[in-house]
Subunit: 730 residues, 2 copies
Amino acid sequence: MIPWYFWLVPLAAIFVLYMATKFFRMMKAEPAGTDRMIEIAAYVRKGAIAYLKQQYGVVAVVFVLISIFLWLLAYKFHLQNEWLPFAFWTAGICSGLAGFIGMQTATQASSRAAFAASKSLNHGLRIAFRSGAVVGLAVVGLALLDYSFWFLVLNFFEKDMPFPNDRMIVITGTMLTFAIGASLQALFARVGGGIFTKAADVGADLVGKIEKGIPEDDPRNPATIADNVGDNVGDVAGMGADLYESYSGAILAAAALGATAFARHDNSLQMKAILAPILMGAMGAILSIVGILVVKTKEEATSRALLKSLGNGVKLSGLCILLAALFVLAILGMPNIWGIWGALAVGLISGEVIGKTSEYYTSQAYTPTRCVARQSQTGPATVIIGGIGLGMISTAVPVLAVVVGTLLAFSLAQGFGGEKDILMGLYGVSIAAVGMLSTLGITMATDAYGPIADNAGGNAEMSGLDAEVRKRTDALDALGNTTAATGKGLAIGSAALTALALLASYISAIKGTMVSVGDEFVVVNGNNIPVTALTLNDIIDYYQIHLLNPKVLMGLFVGAMLSFLFCGLSINAVGRAAAKMVEEVRRQFREIVGIMDNTAVPDYAQCVKISTFAAQCEMLMPSAIAIISPIIVGVLLGVSGVVGLMGGALSSGFVLAIFMANSGGSWDNAKKYIEEGAMGGKGSDAHKAAVIGDTVGDPFKDTAGPSLNILIKLMSIVSLVVVGITVKFS
Amino acid sequence: MIPWYFWLVPLAAIFVLYMATKFFRMMKAEPAGTDRMIEIAAYVRKGAIAYLKQQYGVVAVVFVLISIFLWLLAYKFHLQNEWLPFAFWTAGICSGLAGFIGMQTATQASSRAAFAASKSLNHGLRIAFRSGAVVGLAVVGLALLDYSFWFLVLNFFEKDMPFPNDRMIVITGTMLTFAIGASLQALFARVGGGIFTKAADVGADLVGKIEKGIPEDDPRNPATIADNVGDNVGDVAGMGADLYESYSGAILAAAALGATAFARHDNSLQMKAILAPILMGAMGAILSIVGILVVKTKEEATSRALLKSLGNGVKLSGLCILLAALFVLAILGMPNIWGIWGALAVGLISGEVIGKTSEYYTSQAYTPTRCVARQSQTGPATVIIGGIGLGMISTAVPVLAVVVGTLLAFSLAQGFGGEKDILMGLYGVSIAAVGMLSTLGITMATDAYGPIADNAGGNAEMSGLDAEVRKRTDALDALGNTTAATGKGLAIGSAALTALALLASYISAIKGTMVSVGDEFVVVNGNNIPVTALTLNDIIDYYQIHLLNPKVLMGLFVGAMLSFLFCGLSINAVGRAAAKMVEEVRRQFREIVGIMDNTAVPDYAQCVKISTFAAQCEMLMPSAIAIISPIIVGVLLGVSGVVGLMGGALSSGFVLAIFMANSGGSWDNAKKYIEEGAMGGKGSDAHKAAVIGDTVGDPFKDTAGPSLNILIKLMSIVSLVVVGITVKFS
């Protein structure tokens, strides 16, 4: 039943995880620095672990509640698969584990990277990059392992289907719903982590830098440890969970669409269509390691040359993946091999275009961000107007890249099924999403080293290392901004493609649901059709999923509104949490005598606690929106309303996410550009204006913006999970 | 052929225009103030007229170019009605005329209102309000006159149709395309006026207030006249054209849908369905006058009581309109009378909810804006984060009001046609849009007095009147902020409803186009159907206008992106234009010796010229997007892509517009709240932070935000006009 080539997937997963531990051990073998450095790192690690413990506790409660709901849905109302209440836990746990591993690695790496940077820039970079690779490989490896496990379990237990093709549709469809665990975990990690890190950051800056006039990362600042913890829980653990979710969503959606699109074909062909995206993902994971190992740096290279070398590693991995994918497809003997391969290539290239666009708009090496920096000369208002204008304009190219990519992938894959086969085309789109994320192992390595370098800088500052060391870690951190923008671009670009595939899966799932709620015949276009014989077009007609149906249009409105509401709530949450942090930091300076002259140690743990508590409280409300709204809309507006909701959240959320990420990135780098000496440099009025822009951008780019891609997919998957309620009660 | 009750419309129009001239003459009869006041007012008037001249010149060139395009479309390719190349001029001219009348009135009224305010607050308010009424009535009267004219012309000339019902579909459909003139004019007026006013405002403030430390509206500031001109061209002429467009769009779309929805019914019933919305509009115009006349104020009333009195006038008008509409429908003997009346009432109430929500989020009397004001204590960054969060959250209620309103209006009206009659339901939605705008005559009067009061304040300041007078005009101006938010809410709310109706008109127009491009039979769901027998659902099926068609989805993406791109371009335009203004003002202070000690007069005209020129250059690019994108999308993605485009621009644009209007309004009033003494009052650090928030909000609420509703409709109408190209070439 299980074809031999399936076993390549768990093998690849184990190999990838083995490599991750190897890189981890290599990093651990490096010297951990002076006693003071080890002490500082321990503070940060303790804070981060305390946060994650708290976070996972809250998430566990939410998971238990949702388990109960899913249990009722499955066992009481028979509207969902009976594995779901348990299976979504493994996805959640793997995603959480990826975040935890990332955070463990990052907090171990920071003092080592700082110590290595005291030898040379390259030493520091290598440690940070190798540690980043641990995160990337853990994400990819755990995801592949989780699917392999459930694929085997479901194949073993789900046997009572008359036709093997229907069976595979049920198995892949069920596996797709499991992704709700990963999405939920990711949303909490991104929103909670985003609130934590920005509350600590803003709080530390407003009191420490502005009121007390002490430098960034000064150990006298009570919020400085919280700030460094924030980098780990937001930018490492949050990003790890986020990309785990993106990767899972893309591959599982492609598998589910493969099953549906090839349902009318031979069973062994259907199996190939299902496993092809998973195999290509596994291949990508292994070839990412090739890229990681190939990256070599000359001892005297400049930091820009290093960045280029990283970029070459990614490009090499991408090229290898393209070749290997062709090989995989040929071995499988897939039909329309060039079409499917083309879709994969289109995805990879669109991802590259989105990443390059982010770089163009957010890097101080190009005109747009320099223009924002120039506007700081006329004050904070013009900087902010300029950054918002830039962010809005920057949405054009990524949207067009996704539009062109989708249409190309759709037509290339459709070639096989005949012109009207929508599912075959959408299978191509989902393959494009897999292609976009296929280099994840290495792109995430280049991403994750940013926050590690940032923390290394904090460690160097607090341990009183040479100013030269701090300068080197700052240089590494600045490069990290560019690679982080690329990572966010991939996450949101792949979200757009994956969400399209989820939309298709949703409509496909309706048929199965109609059968299970007891519908036997429905009238479509005047004909009485048995439910089991309904085509995709029949379902579209029956539920009037067209744009003149006011329910669809109203769903669009609500979806668009929800992405704004979600952003507004999480932005305000950062504001509120930051205000609490400001109060606490002021209190400590006032009440703990001797902080400023180094005779007393501030209470770092209290600041971590406040940020942790605020993040936990504030993350619930925006997350609740994502979970509850598809249920409410489903009951009130029915299937057509839900489809509209998904379309509205997808289109608006996608554009909004790019806008927020690029505005925020641009303000950050405009500030850095001025700090490098432009417009009067550090301390000038222009710099002060740019700092204000950067502070406004913080919740844009690190809280609301990167959560939107998860929101879009979580809403889609929740819709998919509750499709039974929607069909039955509306 | 023409039923007797039609004649009520031009009669009402003439009566309304007569009343407008009466109010104008009443205002003119008031004393114009001291010589200095007359001199200042003349400067402003000259500047405003110079701007409008220039603006209309540019618009005329664009109109000529579009005429040529439309002429080719109609006469060369036979893809549009032959009246269109000429008829769209009258709409454009009427809309421009409404703006011109508004501006003439406002510039005449400012010195009179200032002079009257030196007697009492109420005197000032009465002049400002009556002058505002001139604008409101001119808009409504001219619009009704324009439709009456074309209804008669088309009825007289378009006779060669075999069936009277088809004939009315052609006539109303043609009239709807004429609205492109009004939409174009409005977009230019809003974008151009918005850029002008904000460039002048920001320029005057940055150099005058901040660099030179002279107060607002000081005659020594070279940009002060330009700033006052800006209020007239942006907030009066721009708003006049905007609401002319909204009013036209709503009524013409309702008439066109009436013709299509009732096509299968008796011809006289169809005629009633067409004329009912126009008649209700005419009734609303007359009853607005009742409201205007009833507003009476006690001599010693507080400004808040005056606002309440204005609100009562609007409510009275609304109630009268509801009663009168029922009467009209009964006289006409419309079927489903309660359903149609209910749709009208739903529209009126939704409009009220949207207005109240804007008031709640933007007025300093309520918690949200006070919260933003409080955030100014921690600096500009937190004010801006707070305002953005507030604006995003504030989108929820208006969207839900429109969603509930649409679904209610849809179901109420659908009652008559049977459950599946989409067109009948959409007719109800378009009636709701008419209902929302039915009190326009009076709501616009309450709107337009804001900028008049603002100008009166400028005049008082520059003529050296008592500080007491300035305080009174400031009080009037502050009230105006609230009423302006209501006006913007109505414009965007009605745009959402009207755009739905336009979507339906678009799909209806496809059938006619298919006939004219020579299609005879098409295959729908496997059946060969003659084009003339196609139903709405057939067309939806044939062009696959459903949400799984990737072309529809990609259209959604592009539509959502275009609304962001449009905002980004216009926000950046303000930034660039303001920078030019800053340079010029600095130059004058440097080169013209004696400005500061009042021995030399600054060159006001040069500043007006710079703002004018910048506005003209910068308004072309965003406007071009609205015109060209539906054509490109139509050719590349076909009918389904265009429908997606309309849906995407509508949903995202609607939410984005509310966000920008409310964020901007809230920052403005948070500043005012602090100036009233909160958080340390004028001159405190909190005040400085709030001023920065207000400056960021300026292009939000006065340039990009209010243009979005026009963008949405213009894109829809352009799509409708070029439907022939889309059907033929895609």
